[in-house]
């Protein structure tokens, strides 16, 4: 990873110097030990703060969309012939490129407005798994040594292998290498274990309907409607989210549990053919709601019914943007 980091910084400097990108979105060291946080690099000197390791969690496609939208809005009052394009460079691993593909297919920006610096991905460390492995002991300091986490906690020192605390979505990742990229830094990572990706979902499907509903209500009761999942999700980019719309008001703003359920249900359902299983929503959720159980189900249905995986190819249309004569019709009611 050290090697990738130095190459990444070099590449970022070159892009900024040659003016091929105006801003580069990447990761920098976080303020807390063993964290990485998204950062924006616009000068060469800043490029040295870029890092890339197993602690980088967030999907950066969200920031690409935010930056481009903000730039476009700022150009609205500029005469059309004087409008400038802004190129955003982005450090992208598999799931980030999938999100970028979704944005491109949904015509959010043009391909030449992004410069994709592809990086291989071995999966990232899940905060919740890490806390579990440390028995919730406070992390005082820590560093990443190869694929080993050396951690100093309030309850003594500990060494944990990254693979033991990898996020559940990374463990079954199918696309851990960039699908599209302008330049690739580092060599492609070996594929993960995607054969088991739907195991948990198939198991949950077999449960009794009452049990499923109980689980859903139990999980949604945890939700405090902070909207962090929506803010972190690269596919959630509506200028006005249905959750905040007042005419009509789809969901109430109170703390009634039906409002929370409806909000989550609608947000989850907006992810049909658009969720790339990057785990950003789950990693930012302060209450630990099991969103993945539902998002993965949507992904599974999409694969089973339409044979597509969100953002898996630039050429393929999004599943809800097309139809096929071979689509199953068993859900249609015929009296």
């Amino acid at each position: 990873m050290e090697n990738i980091e130095s190459k990444l910084r070099e590449e970022a400097k070159r892009l900024l110097l040659e003016k091929r990108a105006d801003i580069i979105v990447g990761y920098e060291k976080g303020t807390l030990p063993l964290t990485a946080t998204p950062c924006f690099v616009s000068t060469e000197a800043e490029a040295d703060k870029l890092v890339y390791n197993e602690l980088c969690t967030q999907n950066l496609a969200k920031y690409v969309h935010d930056l481009i939208t903000a730039h476009k809005n700022s150009q609205k009052r500029v005469k059309p012939e004087d409008r400038k394009k802004k190129v955003i460079g982005v450090v992208a691993r598999g799931c980030t490129t999938r999100s970028l593909i979704i944005h491109l297919q949904e015509r959010q920006y043009e391909r030449d407005e992004v410069y994709i610096i592809g990086v291989p991905c071995e999966g990232y460390v899940d905060k919740k798994n890490l806390a579990k492995a440390l028995d919730s002991a406070e992390i005082i300091d820590g560093n990443l040594d190869g694929l080993q986490l050396k951690i100093k906690t309030a309850a003594g020192d500990k060494t944990i292998a990254v693979s033991d605390v990898i996020a559940p979505n990374c463990a079954v990742c199918r696309f851990n290498n960039p699908i599209i990229s302008d330049i690739m830094v580092g060599t492609p990572a070996p594929v993960k274990n995607p054969a088991t990706e739907y195991d948990k979902i198939s198991e949950f499907e077999k449960k009794d309907i009452a049990e499923r509903w109980d689980y859903f209500t139990k999980e949604m009761e945890k939700c405090i409607r902070c909207n962090a999942c929506r803010q972190a999700c690269p596919s959630c980019y509506c200028p006005t989210c249905f959750a905040e719309q007042s005419q009509p008001q789809w969901v109430g703003i109170g703390e009634d549990k039906s409002d929370t359920q409806v909000f989550q249900c609608m947000r989850l359902f907006h992810m049909v053919g658009r969720c790339v299983d990057c785990g950003s929503c789950i990693s930012v959720c302060p209450m630990g709601v099991d969103l993945r159980n539902y998002l993965k189900k949507i992904d599974k249905d999409c694969w089973e019914l339409f044979g597509t995986r969100a953002g898996s190819s630039m050429e393929e249309m999004p599943p809800l943007g097309k139809f096929s004569e071979q689509d199953k019709e068993d859900f249609i009611y015929n009296p």
Binding site: D256, I298, P319, F323, Y333
Partner: protein
Amino acid sequence: MARRKFATLKRFLNYIGVEGDRTIFTWVSASEGDRFAQVIKGVTAKVKALGPANKMLKNIA
């Protein structure tokens, strides 16, 4: 496209715990009055069998 949405919606709602029989989708042409009556009869029968819907219901005091 609508049919694809409904196919996934029905599965999704059933997955979270809303009975599949509550999400019913079909096509009825304006000229198919009899079919329309049949569909409505069928739907009401299905929903009656399930009883009142009490999921995701807001209690307005």
